[in-house]
């Protein structure tokens, strides 16, 4: 009798310990981000206050007004154009990478051909080249081609950055769809092209969307290449813009936090939408040869 009571108590203790650990863990995961978000809504003087102000006394949207150039005072950094550049560059490169990636991923998933494993590995190894190492020769080439400080220049680079991993993911998604479905459609009267669009593509759609989100965020977040290949408001992206703040003598912490929030928000929303498919794609593409 006592034994059962004891074991129940220890089970309870274990459960509490489990929850406590998880709670601390989530705190560590979330707090840094939350602190940045919170600071984005506080005036600079409160952030700089000594002794620190723990409970915000004032919640304000001024920081956002400042960085986007409306409201009372402006910061000398054209965040608005950075934002547009980021959006245009990330979206365009994602769409192109997806088209190339769907073709490539389908090829790996559905055909047997010579050097298949080698080509796949080759694509991955190209992806592994460090951005900063790649930035130098690309910079030299792009300056000859007139692509430095253009959106096009960055879009081309980001497409190549995203193609390998997009192929990895999409290959996995297509292999989850039984080949017999496409065959059945072909027996039912479809060409292979029709079978792809009517059967395989609709079934892989959510996976392709997940791959697209991943590609979008890679472009949206990229810094090493963008920092060297962009110069002006014509092509500078948000991550490069963030560093503009630190280059100044007095760091505008509140402004940076506000800009950080602008960068974070798409990441949060998009991650939330596709997280399930993304995990499925990552594991399936990797585990099944």
């Amino acid at each position: 009798m006592t034994v059962t009571v004891e074991s129940r108590a220890s089970k309870q203790a274990k459960k509490v310990a489990l929850w406590l650990t998880t709670f601390v863990l989530m705190l560590v995961m979330c707090l840094p981000g939350l602190w940045v978000v919170l600071s984005a809504f506080r005036p600079n003087r409160e952030i700089l206050a000594k002794p620190p102000v723990w409970i915000p006394e004032e919640i304000t949207l001024d920081n956002f007004g400042k960085i986007f150039g409306f409201g009372a005072e402006q910061v000398g950094i054209p965040v608005g154009s950075y934002f547009t550049n980021s959006l245009v560059i990330a979206l365009t490169s994602t769409v192109i990478a997806l088209i190339i990636g769907v073709a490539g991923g389908y090829s790996f998933a559905r055909y047997r051909f010579r050097f298949k494993g080698g080509i796949f590995l080759g694509l991955m190894l190209f992806r592994a080249v460090p951005g900063i190492a790649l930035s130098m020769p690309v910079f030299m080439m792009w300056s000859r081609l007139g692509l430095v400080d253009t959106k096009m220049g960055l879009i081309i680079v980001y497409v190549s950055l995203n193609v390998p991993f997009t192929i990895w993911l999409i290959d996995g998604f297509f292999r989850q769809i039984p080949q017999a479905l496409s065959e059945a459609a072909q027996v039912d009267g479809c060409t292979r092209w029709q079978a792809f669009w009517k059967i395989e593509f609709p079934l892989a759609k959510s996976g392709i969307a997940a791959a697209g989100v991943f590609a979008f965020l890679t472009s949206w977040n990229e810094f090493a290449l963008a920092s060297q290949l962009t110069r002006s408001t014509d092509s500078k992206t948000l991550p490069v813009g963030l560093l503009d703040f630190t280059a100044q003598f007095t760091i505008d912490w509140a402004g940076m936090c506000a800009l950080a929030v602008v960068i974070i928000i798409p990441a949060l929303i998009l991650t939330f939408i596709v997280q399930k498919h993304l995990i499925a794609g990552l594991t399936f593409g990797g585990v099944k040869g």
């Binding site: 080509i119 190492a133 991993f165 949060l268």
Partner: protein, 303 residues
């Protein structure tokens, strides 16, 4: 005649589909790498364009291999990656096992875990720079308010602490790749071998060591392979947090490349260093990809 044609078309289809991908990679990566290789064999400086055509053989490589600053950055990079990846794997495994035990809210926790992975590295760097700032950072503020220290701790200024802070940021950003994939592995784990092992008399440590862990290894290798594709993004962290300082004490191979190439405009020498860093990354990816393929084959037998 017609037969020959159709067979050839089916053989060509996969290559045609792959053509855009391969062409892109060749143009944007392979071609620049060749260019980079040539540049590394010249004394090219951005300020003196004509130097691009002076072939000096391996002089740049000999120079960097004789340069203690380079070796310091190189070894620091290796040490940084070794520590970071091991900690990430261990932590990720712990987190995955923990969440696997939890019966309620699993999905929510998993989603939260994905966020750091999707954050811009530059943002993570900024975030920790903000938290670890010696004057206004929340870490120092908290420690001082709690009375744990009366002086501000120079997290990003002291050489040792700065490297620690950078590693911490890196671990915070990348642990979730391991946690998520290992958790997916735990979800996919078949019950039968676990139960068989229990019936065979294994204790829970033995079950973990001999059944769970081997089953999880392919998932760990996927995580490592994915992680290895982008190891150099630590550059972004360092660039925003310390920019290699103080006095080059947090200089990694990648920041050194940027400094020599762009700040000092010595492109020839920087490209030689960049080549070393590229080979390092490629070997790293290749190694884990091979491990993944091997683990996959090994698993295939049990399916």
């Amino acid at each position: 005649m017609i037969r020959a044609l159709t067979t050839r078309r089916t053989e060509l289809a996969p290559f045609l589909l792959l053509l855009p991908a391969v062409a892109t990679m060749l143009f944007v990566v392979a071609l620049p790498l060749i260019f980079s290789l040539w540049t590394s064999l010249t004394p090219y400086k951005l300020t003196k364009p004509n130097t691009l055509y002076d072939f000096i053989g391996l002089t740049n490589y000999i120079r960097i291999f004789g340069d203690w600053d380079f070796w310091e950055a190189f070894l620091r990079t290796i040490a940084f990656l070794t520590v970071a990846i091991n900690v990430e794997f261990a932590l990720g495994l712990g987190i995955a096992l923990l969440i696997n035990k939890i019966t309620w809210g699993q999905r929510g926790l998993r989603t939260i875990m994905m966020f750091p992975m999707m954050f811009s590295p530059i943002l993570v760097g900024f975030q920790f720079k903000f938290l670890f700032n010696d004057h206004i950072g929340v870490v120092n503020n908290a420690l001082q308010s709690l009375g744990l220290t009366d002086q501000a701790i120079p997290w990003l200024v002291d050489a040792k602490l700065a490297m620690f802070s950078i590693t911490l940021a890196e671990v915070w950003m990348s642990t979730s790749v391991f946690a998520i994939l290992l958790l997916a592995g735990l979800f996919a784990m078949p019950r039968d071998p676990l139960e068989a092992a229990k019936v065979d008399g294994c204790n829970s440590w033995q079950v973990f060591r001999h059944i769970t862990l081997p089953f999880l290894m392919p998932f760990a290798y996927i995580a490592m392979a994915i992680r290895s594709l982008d190891v150099a993004r630590a550059y972004d962290l360092v660039a925003v947090m310390t920019d290699g300082g103080p006095a080059g004490r947090t200089e990694l191979l990648w920041t050194l490349v940027a400094r020599v190439g762009y700040d000092e405009a010595k492109m020839g020498q920087a490209n030689a260093m960049a080549y070393v860093s590229t080979i390092l990354s490629v070997l790293f990816t290749w190694y884990f990809y091979r491990k993944l393929v091997a683990a996959r084959r090994y698993m295939g037998g049990a399916e």
